[in-house]
């Protein structure tokens, strides 16, 4: 059922890094780079040279199995950045590596090899192929690799099952709802068992309920597969929910990189603070942050150590006693009582 059939095999996951990446659109990139290095603002550079500095001196590292979220408002350069990292466009300056291999220096042949074996992408507007049935959409990457029809269909059927589209293989994508279409997009990316997955605002085109559902789905899948993920979003809540670490992007630059809590506790710039101010801590703090050791008292239902306070809240309101907190293996590691949660809610207001 899981994507990886042999559980003990070495984790098929990779590290990703970017060093000093710039991307400039327009006629005179050299001049614009100079000005950017001199710290001129984006508007000024555009006026003087006609160039847009879409990505400006971005560096980061993503460790194997980590979910790295880039969050920023419209026009901040997120798409451009992820397209640079995936080398759908060439960087103007800087280096991108995957497993310490320089992606920016590869020729077409090498790049194709890497793409076939190591990475995949899920697009905001799905980028599905309307002339292929769902199963052939999912099998596309394998087809490109030359996997025989029977084998790739077998694999595609498995993947359809994993992304919850069992039985939809013979439909055409446009006959499916938006959420289901993005499941096809996800399945298509997963079918090639990539080490690195890129997501460019994959859920932005979906309505809120479906979006939540897809986020949960992704968390569930990631818990099994531990891929390296670079995820783009303009929704801070989504960033908190999915990201191990979050980068806040503004005008082509990273303002800050850190875990949700770090951003919340120590916003590096006013811009970051503006975002974090709107976020309720109950979404960020988890059971782990507020639990106390179990002292043998009676406990009600149990919650996971990674569940956020707002999720625990519902459980707690329906329970007589404090709730138990268990870790991933199901062992009791502590309890959360009403006082602890009220404490968090108090600082909120």
């Amino acid at each position: 059922m899981a994507i990886e059939q042999t559980e003990d095999a070495a984790p098929t996951t990779a590290s990703l890094s970017a060093v000093g990446v710039f991307k400039v659109f327009g006629p005179k990139p050299d001049k614009a780079l100079q000005m950017a290095a001199a710290g001129e603002p984006r508007d000024e550079i555009l006026r003087a040279t006609g160039n847009t500095v879409a990505v400006r001196d971005v560096s980061f590292e993503v460790t194997p199995g980590e979910t790295f979220v880039v969050m920023g408002l419209s026009g901040s350069g997120k798409s451009t950045l992820v397209r640079c990292i995936a080398r759908l466009t060439d960087v103007t300056r800087g280096r991108v590596t995957i497993n310490d291999r320089d992606l920016t220096a590869m020729d077409d042949q090498e790049l194709r090899e890497v793409r076939r074996k190591q990475m995949s992408m899920v697009f905001q507007h799905f980028g599905l192929f309307p002339h292929r049935r769902v199963i052939d959409n999912v099998a596309y990457g394998l087809e490109i690799q030359g996997v025989p029809r029977e084998e790739r269909h077998k694999k595609a059927l498995e993947v359809l099952d994993v992304v919850g589209l069992d039985g939809w293989g013979d439909h055409y994508p446009q006959q499916l709802s938006g959420g289901m279409q993005q499941r096809v997009g996800l399945g298509r990316a997963l079918a090639v068992e990539p080490e690195v997955l890129f997501f460019d605002e994959p859920f932005s085109a979906l309505d809120p309920l479906i979006r939540r559902e897809m986020q949960d789905e992704l968390l569930r899948l990631q818990a099994d597969m531990h891929r390296t993920i670079m995820f783009i979003t303009h929704d801070f809540d989504e960033a908190i929910k999915l990201g191990d670490r979050i980068a806040i992007m503004k005008d082509g630059e990273f303002d800050q990189i850190g875990t949700a809590l770090e951003l919340l506790a120590n916003p590096a710039t006013d811009y970051v603070r503006e975002f974090t101010e709107d976020v309720s801590r109950i979404k960020v703090l988890t059971a782990w942050h507020v639990m106390r050791p179990h002292a043998g008292e009676a406990i009600g239902p149990r919650v996971g150590v990674n569940q956020s306070i707002d999720e625990i809240l519902v459980v707690l309101l329906g329970a007589e006693d404090a709730v138990g907190v268990e870790d991933l293996s199901g062992e009791l590691v502590g309890v959360v009582d009403r006082e602890a949660v009220i404490g968090v809610l108090d600082t909120e207001s």
């Binding site: 799905f126 980028g127 309307p130 490109i144």
Partner: protein, 640 residues
């Protein structure tokens, strides 16, 4: 955002000269030039034989070397033989098939789109030519069509792909394709005649060239339109350029490409029918012969056969553009359909039912002759009156004014002035150089004659098309009623329009003008209606909120906003009228049209090419001018 400066004030004072200065310039220029050059007669045709003689020499040379020179023995003759063979094969295959196979195939091809009624109508339309005894002639035409369209696709699709992949190639191709579409079809006959002699083969090649642009254009467009994310998704899986093209871009572009192919087919039909001028036979020749024999009934019957074929091809084309894959029949169904046709063919031969049964001949249309004669005699007060007004009051005076009274430097000046006012210096220079070229090769007077007829036809077309178009654009019911009729009319090849015109006006300038109007009015209405309908509803409502009357909304908002599109419609009208110039020449329109026809008939290549050039030059001037007007009417582009 700069503060208003004092120049604004002086601007008001200068306003008068600024506003009327160029008009004054025009008047002074015209008067002065007319006074100075009024005595000049005609344009000095200094280059009269400069180009036509070498072409004629080449024509004579190729006639005597046709059998020996490598260019012919090695290239054109084998090409010609090959295409001739292909034509024969297709034709004899279609004639060999039991007659009912073709209508059935048409039925199945249209039924693909799941519309049974349309499929039945199309199938029956395919039977019609046989019923009136025109089966073989029709097959003749269809064979020529098949081969020409095959070559158009074979050349056009790769060119289109190339254009989509290489923006620079597209930059070169686009003006070439534009130019190809401004050239009236029969002009292509001349060079083909030179290379391939007379007959069906040059007709095929002329058709291929003429019908090429839509496939190329729409292939490029279709591939460009494929969503960027789909292409990127393919690239992200490590697909090669070739894999992405074959597995993603081409299949996704297919509906658009098929639209292009349908357009190509319709254009090919138009010119194949005209190809009678090259001795290609088929339905076109039939129409021209019967018309000149005054067998109106048979002419109508043949014309209807052309209309039927046009409808059939159009329907098949539309069925092929169906985009919703899920609703298409499966491969198995298609297989069964083809198998069924093969089976029926065998049955046909087994039972001996292969030739189209001779039910009726065109004789059944002969009574129409009498009706037509009666109508013509009894309506002559109307037709003759119309004729007298248009010819006596407009055509003759204007033509004489242009060719006899006004000296050529004056016309040249007016042309330059108009170009300058409308499109700036570039257009002025272009107009004047084209006019000079026309004059130098000795086509001045003929061109002005043609221009006069064209203007008459355009004025009449616009007078009909724009009001009707505005009406249709505003009134959904009118649109719903006119739409299908216009759709059908638009598929009818130009030559057919000559039939009613000739019936009522016999020969002369008028039938040509009438046919041109009939032909050109349709796109005029269409595009005008489109322009009116496209005006954003919000702009209309904004106007209504201010309490504008419907009339104020119409002329204050709708018409101005639709003006660029309406102008594009007028441009289309002009191009269609020009395409009819040569056909008008067939029925006594004189001028350039007649010269083309007679040049083709006499194989007078030098003259033919000169005339062709003059027509193309007029077309290009009018095309650029109307497009420049449309550009000026367009609101400035939004800021980024």
């Amino acid at each position: 955002m700069t503060a208003p400066s004092t120049t604004d004030l002086t601007g008001i004072e200068d306003g008068w000269t600024q506003r009327y200065g160029h008009w004054i310039l025009l008047v002074i220029g015209v008067v002065a030039l007319q006074v100075a050059f009024g005595w000049v007669e005609g344009f000095p045709a200094l280059l009269d034989h400069t180009f036509s003689d070498p072409i004629d020499d080449f024509g004579r040379w190729q006639q005597s070397n046709r059998k020996s020179h490598w260019l012919f023995t090695g290239l054109f003759t084998p090409l010609s033989t090959g295409v001739g063979w292909a034509l024969d094969t297709v034709e004899s295959f279609l004639l060999w098939l039991p007659w009912f196979i073709l209508p059935l195939a048409v039925f199945l091809a249209v039924a693909r789109s799941k519309s049974l009624r349309l499929a039945i109508v199309a199938g029956l339309a395919m039977v019609y030519p046989g019923l009136v005894g025109l089966w073989e002639v029709t097959i003749d035409t269809l064979a020529l069509m098949t081969i020409a369209v095959f070559f158009s696709i074979l050349i056009g699709v790769p060119l289109g792909i190339w254009g989509a992949l290489r923006p620079r190639a597209e930059k070169v191709m686009r003006p070439a394709l534009d130019a190809m579409q401004t050239v009236p079809a029969p002009v292509y006959f001349l060079p083909m005649l030179m290379l391939f002699g007379i007959g069906r083969v040059p007709a095929t090649f002329a058709t291929v060239i003429y019908a090429l642009p839509p496939v190329v254009r729409l292939t490029t467009l279709g591939i460009r339109e494929v969503a960027g994310q789909a292409v990127e998704a393919s690239e992200m899986f490590g697909a090669t350029k070739r894999q992405t093209m074959l597995k993603v871009q081409l299949p996704m572009a297919l509906p658009t490409i098929m639209t292009g192919v349908t357009q190509t087919i319709m254009m090919a039909l138009g010119i194949v029918v005209l190809a009678t001028l090259l001795g290609a036979g088929g339905l076109g020749q039939e129409i021209m012969e019967t018309l000149s024999l005054r067998r109106t009934g048979r002419g109508i019957a043949t014309g209807l056969a052309v209309v039927a074929i046009a409808m059939v091809l159009d329907r098949i084309g539309r069925a092929a553009v169906v985009t919703d894959r899920a609703s298409l029949p499966t491969r198995r169904t298609a297989f069964i359909a083809v198998g069924g046709l093969v089976g029926l063919t065998i049955v046909g031969f087994a039972t001996g039912v292969t030739e189209f049964p001779e039910i009726w001949e065109t004789d059944i249309f002969d009574p129409i002759d009498n009706v037509v004669v009666w109508v013509r005699d009894n309506l002559s007060w109307l037709t003759r009156g119309f004729n007298d007004i248009v010819v006596g009051e407009f055509y003759v005076p204007v033509r004489d004014l242009l060719t006899e009274t006004v000296a050529w430097p004056v016309l040249m000046f007016i042309g330059g002035w108009m170009g300058w006012r409308i499109g700036g210096r570039g257009l002025a220079i272009f107009t004047m150089s084209m006019m000079t070229a026309i004059g130098l090769i000795g086509m001045w007077a003929l061109s002005l004659d043609t221009l006069t007829q064209v203007v008459a036809a355009v004025l009449m077309s616009v007078a009909i098309a724009v009001p009707l178009g505005i009406w249709a654009g505003r009134n959904r019911r009118v649109e719903a009623f006119l739409g299908p009729i216009l759709d059908a009319l638009q598929t009818i090849p130009s030559l057919v329009y000559i039939i009613p015109a000739v019936i009522f006006f016999t020969v002369g300038v008028i039938p040509g003008i009438i046919a041109s109007v009939l032909y050109a009015v349709v796109p005029g209405i269409r595009i005008t209606a489109l322009g009116i309908r496209e005006v954003p509803e919000e702009s209309i409502e904004a106007s209504q909120v201010f309490g504008a009357t419907p009339r104020q909304t119409m002329f204050g908002v709708r018409v101005p906003l639709a003006a660029p599109t309406i102008m594009a419609g007028i441009n289309q009208v002009i191009m269609m009228v020009l395409a009819m110039v040569i056909i008008s020449g067939l029925v006594g329109g004189g001028a350039l049209g007649f010269e083309t026809v007679s040049a083709v008939k006499r194989s007078d290549l030098g003259k033919g090419i000169e005339v062709g050039f003059a027509i193309v030059a007029i077309a290009m001037i009018l095309d650029r001018t109307t497009q420049a007007i449309a550009d000026r009417l367009r609101p400035p582009p939004a800021l980024h």
